[in-house]
Structures are given as structure tokens and as C-alpha cells.
Symmetry: C2
Subunit: 92 residues, 2 copies
């Protein structure tokens, strides 16, 4: 179920590190080098496959940008926040 | 050594499938699903590490966009085209 704008904003604030832009939540990560970025992206990929929910992933050498939204619902849903929380745990 | 605009355009034409936009050459790929995209990106990552030259990589579920440029030279160089040719061979 698509979350309201207000509910999304509250959830983003609680998540930390993620930014809400339109219907998408985004987080930037910086690593030591390209190899470290790739290792992280593969871990995110495994979480995504397990959740059957897939972020957009941009890799620029030592930087990774993830974007989450629920295309089927035309907005943010609990699925996005659940996966974001799991991703946050990877870099704790 | 940075290639001239004319030389870059000729090389892009020869490559096929890649598009020249400013100082970057770009190619889009489409796969069966996210897992196939990830497999491809890991193969590209290995080529990139071997060449010590790294494309920008955008993964959107079953689609992958690669962008190549030589930041140190402020433009396209032979390194970009060499890696593009190797990447093309992956999907032949």
C-alpha cells in the first residue's frame, strides 16, 4: 500500500542517511575503492533478491547511490523502508 | 592522450551500440532479470579492475547503463575504447 507523503517523510527521518525526492528514497555511500563498492553492491543485490524488491544502483568508482521506490504502487511503500533498514545494517 | 572530437566520433561509429554524449560514451544493455544484470556487472567489474579503468554503472533491475570517460584526461582516450571493445565481447 502506498504511503502518504507525511508518513513517508516521518519514516525517512527515522531511517537517517536517506533522502526523499519525489517518490524515491536515496542514499549515497562511499567506499575505499571500486572493489569495495562492488562487494557492497553484491550484498545489496542479495538482500534485494531475497526481498524480491530491487533498488536502482549507481556505481561511480568508490561511490554508490541507491534509490528505492515501489513502481507497481506508484510511490513509496513499507517494502522500500524495510529494504532500506536492511541495507543500513550492512554498513553499520 | 585525449582524443579529438572527430577521432572519438569515428571510434564510436566503429564500436557500434555506444553513444557519444559530451565526453562520455554510453551503452545500454537489457537482460532477463536483476540476477542477470548483476552477473553482467560483475563481469564488467573484473574487466575494469584488470584495466584499472572503471565505467559508471547504473543498474535498474533488468537494465544496465555503462558510461566511460577518462576523468584524468578530461575527455575520451584510447582506454575508454579499449574497455568498451572488451565489454562488447561479453555480450556477443
Amino acid at each position: 500500500m502506498k504511503l502518504s507523503r507525511k508518513s513517508s517523510a516521518a519514516k525517512v527521518a527515522k531511517l537517517g542517511n536517506w533522502t526523499l525526492k519525489g517518490n524515491v528514497i536515496t542514499r549515497f555511500f562511499r567506499f575505499r575503492d571500486f572493489a569495495a563498492s562492488m562487494r557492497f553492491v553484491n550484498r545489496v543485490g542479495r538482500l534485494a533478491e531475497a526481498a524480491n524488491h530491487h533498488p536502482d544502483i549507481l556505481i561511480t568508482y568508490d561511490k554508490v547511490r541507491l534509490g528505492l521506490t515501489t513502481h507497481d504502487e506508484g510511490g513509496l511503500t513499507e517494502k522500500d523502508f524495510r529494504l532500506a533498514r536492511r541495507i543500513n545494517k550492512l554498513v553499520k
